[in-house]
Assembly symmetry: C2
DNA sequence: GTCTATATGGGGATAGAC
DNA sequence: GTCTATCCCCATATAGAC
């Protein structure tokens, strides 16, 4: 035979292995859409095109998958937000900087990362041990926001009578809540971010 | 015997029956705390102090329980909000009215109703058929808010360039998100409502 | 109104073949 | 890296006793 030397014929099964990343990708989407308790390893395997038992080659347990997704989710949105802020000119004022940070966070959730949106959706549903594993990453991201807000407040650009932590919880909570109703096929995440920043900066009163 | 006429001795088993409401009460709390998929009928029965099979005397299925909780949850917060607005004087301005509505919604979630908080937490996790059953109640509450905001905007008290529906989604989303971090044993829902209203009305800029 | 007992299916997880 | 086969447990739901 002409190709007797080969032990594997690439033309036979061109379907590449799913791999660890493939499992995580489909799992993140399923968790985001259906929640933690409703997504079984069998559902994940089905969506990934493999069998349930195969998942254990990559992960030791279901919660190990969830932990990886939660960490990656925070990391992704944290990076987007940090870079968006760093890109602003040194002379930029609070409105410009906050608009950039808000837009980065919102686009990470709505456009970019299934991991980030999965984190927001299922964090409150997972076992305590899984939450604990994700806490360091979350705290780091929260600190990034608190430092930014405190810096702007110190420069006198934000109201001094508003507690930074409370405002951060309020702002991030409002942005995260868009996941409950935003439809990516109909909406524009960038325009939405602009509208949110506008209200948070200037308020609703005439 | 002295009490031969009684068929039941109240001193024997003073433990009153749990009943339909008892099941709903504990189920609402469990769903709020752990999410839809993670709460089994066994858990509900345990928390209610009865056996799992007994639940089927009151409900035909798990989802029938969930539907009842979701509907009651919307109804409770809707009533609180409507009454809070109705109690305001005819001469009250937008800031006073909106503060009252915001406070009512937030207190319903954080202080008053396990049903309302359960609704917010699990709506995105339940099967489509359950969501559909809850939609009419949700739409009615959303319309209550949209009508209020449109009325204030028409009077010129709210900015004309902000879309009412978008602002309602933003506001309710921000209030609902407090469930993720608010600790009733440490926080004051009324003070929180005031701080939220302040930022939404006046913005964060100095 | 609640109990016990049970039917049936799906859950996470493991072992060993390929 | 994925498969098949399987273990054991817990899920929803039903039937009939009390």
């Amino acid at each position: 035979m002409a190709d007797a030397g080969r032990t594997k014929k690439k033309t036979e099964t061109p379907r590449s292995p799913v791999g660890r990343k493939g499992v995580l990708d489909v799992a993140a989407r399923l968790f985001r859409d259906q929640g933690y308790g409703s997504v079984s390893l069998r559902k994940i395997a089905d969506a990934a095109g493999i069998k349930a038992g195969s998942i254990y080659y990559h992960f030791g347990s279901k919660d190990e998958i969830v932990e990886a997704i939660l960490d990656e989710g925070i990391w992704a949105v944290h990076e987007k937000m940090r870079r968006a802020v760093a890109e602003q000119a040194d002379t930029a004022g609070a409105p410009v900087i906050l608009r950039a940070a808000i837009s980065a966070h919102l686009r990470a959730l709505l456009d970019v990362s299934d991991y980030s949106s999965a984190n927001v959706r299922i964090f409150g549903q997972v076992p305590q041990s899984v939450r604990d594993a994700n806490l360091p990453a979350r705290r780091a991201y929260e600190t990034e926001w608190d430092d930014l807000l405190a810096r702007l407040q110190k420069k006198g650009e934000l109201r001094a009578d508003v507690d930074v932590r409370r405002f951060r919880l309020m702002l991030i909570g409002a942005l995260n809540a868009t996941l409950e109703w935003f439809d990516p096929s109909r909406g524009d995440a960038e325009a939405l971010a602009s509208a949110y920043a506008d209200v948070f900066l200037n308020g609703m009163l005439e």
